[in-house]
């Protein structure tokens, strides 16, 4: 029986309740910790294989090094006044009730050690300023709770000092890696990118076979030879997309959407087997060196293929790294066509074509869907799109509204800048953290339930591979169908009008414009 079907046989009591507010429960999540990376995984990334003998000394040394190197980190450690504005802003706190998941308390696990070792008051009067030594218990707390932070930065939005909590979590993970205590999930994946070029470990032969298979599907569906080109030298555009787009559902439907857009406007584009991953888990572990090495693959691929533009697919933290750091990590990209943004997001690309009227939609193809949109944290709070403030919120919505008749936003305090994390970001999308993933998804599920009740919403679109996987896994626990999470470009794929495509519906309105006001009421749409 499918997860989806189970819903028919189960009573409401069998689901997690998105409206439940857990009681305050100290240390209830203390046992939640991901698998520790094996020595060979650690050593591959240049870290000690296991916890070193003098780990306390080394950890403090590393903390000092980071505070010396990154002014931001030092300011964030020094400036918190424990005002409490962030306490109820974290989805993991809201979903678990564990006070150590209040952002201020989670950060204090590290900050108290910093105080003890790097501040005058902490050195001489530790009891007065909440300064503590780094003990084994504290290290265990670090490992547990810094893997209950998805670095989504929602708390930072509400911090009057602008403390970037994600940076604290990243630094904590970097310190732990440096003493030999790394997380299996992230570090194994980074190793795979260094070896094979993507998180999945998808080799060029398998990637080629997958893309050919999908080209067949596209032809069956449309009657057109829509291509998914691989390693084509001299193409104008190199698409860098998360490898989940080649593997998982509903990600693949997004990939097919990109291909249809490129096809319709006759773009010359290619995927690279060398840089077949947009995601960059180096960010999650706070490792500049790993982040750089992953980014340099993209630079090399672009140069080897001789492309003029780089476009990123739907991936949240990839876009953060690309938008904010790519030039610093792997630039300058002076060999690309400077008339286009370097790099560009696929949503910017598609949106631009919609604005120019170069692609059009038959929105009625999405009439079976009443849609809402989950702003992914890294796109919402760590990047921008287009040339106007807030473009990262408006451009994805403009695409969805162009492709779909029924769009409804969730509550204002749960979207855009204040969006909730999906619960699986920041390196937490692993089965060994399923409990905290389900709990962390609860605030988003609550908002979704609300909009489902108010507007009959049936589906939620996302712009990030992690969000899509996380939701398809945890939504059934909250009583939603696993297929109710969709890619933005899946909605595009459903509705885009392709010249010369075969039609399975002779009534299809071919003259539909993208302008909603000018849009004739589609058959079957309610008033």
């Amino acid at each position: 029986m499918t997860e989806l079907e189970k819903t028919g046989d189960l009573s409401v009591d069998d689901f997690l309740d998105p409206l439940e507010r857990p009681e305050l429960a100290p240390d209830i999540m203390a046992e939640s910790a991901p698998f520790v990376a094996a020595p060979e995984i650690q050593e591959k990334l240049g870290y000690p294989g296991e916890l070193v003998d003098n780990w306390q000394e080394k950890a403090i040394e590393k903390m000092g090094e980071l505070a010396g190197k990154y002014r931001s980190f030092k300011v964030y450690l020094d400036s918190c006044v424990k005002c409490g504005a962030c306490t109820d802003k974290c989805h993991y706190f809201l979903g678990s009730g564990d006070p150590k998941n209040m952002p201020v308390a989670r950060q204090d696990l590290l900050r108290k050690v910093y105080r003890r070792n790097f501040t005058l008051a902490g050195k001489y009067l530790p009891w007065l300023v909440g300064a503590e030594d780094l003990t084994k218990d504290v290290l265990d707390d670090w490992y547990s709770y810094f893997h209950q932070c998805s670095q989504c930065r929602r708390c930072s939005v509400f911090c009057p000092y602008g403390i970037d909590t994600a940076e604290i979590s990243m630094a904590a993970r970097e310190i732990m890696d440096s003493v030999g205590k790394g997380q299996k999930y992230c570090n194994e994946i980074i190793g795979k990118v260094h070896d094979v070029g993507n998180n999945l470990g998808l080799n060029p032969k398998a990637l080629k076979a997958t893309l050919e298979d999908l080209e067949e599907d596209l032809e069956d569906e449309t009657g057109l030879k829509i291509r998914l080109p691989l390693d084509e030298k001299g193409a104008d555009i190199m698409l860098v997309t998360p490898s989940a787009d080649f593997f998982a559902e509903p990600h693949i439907d997004g990939l097919l959407g990109y291909a249809k857009v490129f096809h319709q406007v006759g773009a010359s584009w290619t995927i690279s087997s060398y840089a077949s991953e947009a995601g960059n888990f180096g960010l999650f572990i706070g490792s500049y060196e790993n982040m750089r090495e992953v980014s340099l693959r993209i630079r090399k691929a672009a140069q080897d293929l001789g492309v003029k533009r780089i476009i990123f697919g739907e991936c949240g933290h990839a876009w953060r790294v690309a938008y904010s750091f790519l030039n610093t990590l792997a630039g300058p990209f002076d060999f690309l066509d400077q008339r286009y943004p370097v790099p560009q997001h696929i949503c910017e690309y598609t949106h631009d074509l919609i604005e120019k009227g170069e692609i059009k939609f038959d929105k009625s193809k999405n009439d079976h869907i009443r849609l809402t949109y989950h702003d992914s944290c890294n796109v919402a709070r760590a990047s921008r799109m287009g040339d106007k403030p807030g473009g990262q919120f408006e451009i994805p919505r403009a695409i969805l509204r162009a492709a779909c008749n029924h769009f409804y936003d969730m509550a204002e305090d749960t979207i855009k800048e204040a969006t909730f994390c999906c619960g699986g970001g920041g390196g937490l999308l692993t089965d060994d953290l399923m409990d905290i993933r389900k709990k962390g998804a609860q605030p988003r599920m609550r908002a979704l339930k609300q909009v489902a009740e108010d507007h009959g919403v049936t589906h939620m679109a996302a712009i990030c591979a992690i969000c899509k996987t996380q939701f398809s896994k945890v939504m059934p626990d909250y009583g939603f169908d696993m297929d109710s999470i969709v890619s933005i470009h899946q909605m595009v794929s459903n509705a885009i009008i392709l010249d010369g495509a075969k039609s399975d519906d002779e009534d299809e309105a071919v003259n539909v414009t993208v302008n909603e006001d000018a849009m004739p009421a589609a058959d079957g749409a309610e008033a």
């Binding site: 029986m1 499918t2 997860e3 989806l4 079907e5 698998f35 299996k184 999930y185 194994e188 994946i189 795979k192 993507n198 998180n199 999945l200 470990g201 998808l202 080799n203 032969k205 398998a206 076979a209 997958t210 298979d213 999908l214 599907d217 998360p242 490898s243 989940a244 080649f246 593997f247 998982a248 559902e249 990600h251 693949i252 991953e277 995601g279 991936c315 999308l429 089965d431 060994d432 591979a465 992690i466 899509k468 996987t469 896994k473």
Partner: protein, 110 residues
């Protein structure tokens, strides 16, 4: 963890994926499946065997969509759907079926 297989200890990772893929055999698959609360029948074997063939060729598990399509081609329409695969492998065909087939766990944002 490890599997106790006919008196021998077969090493597996924390989640039960085989460490040495070459030790896999059909009887071991039945044992891994039992651990997953799955009783192997012909339908399960069709999927597991296909995964192993694909892995032999490509050194990775197929995308779900590729698997669905191949199943449809080989065994007919009613076996070519995501829903059917989830019926057989409730934790998800990619991970659970790979574990039973003795393949590595698919990693990344999947």
């Amino acid at each position: 963890m490890a599997y106790d297989f006919n008196g021998a200890t077969i090493e597996a990772d924390e989640e039960g994926y085989l460490v040495d893929l070459s030790v896999w055999n059909p009887d071991l698959a039945v044992l891994i499946a039992e651990d997953e609360k799955i009783v192997m029948n012909d339908e399960h074997w069709e999927v597991v065997n296909f995964l192993r063939e694909y892995y032999d060729e490509y050194q990775i598990a197929p995308a779900i969509r590729v698997l669905v399509k191949a199943m449809k081609k080989k065994f007919g329409g009613d076996k070519g759907s995501n829903k059917y695969l989830y019926e057989l492998f409730p934790y998800g065909p990619a991970k659970q079926a790979c574990k039973i087939a003795g393949l590595p766990k698919p990693t990344g944002c999947v």
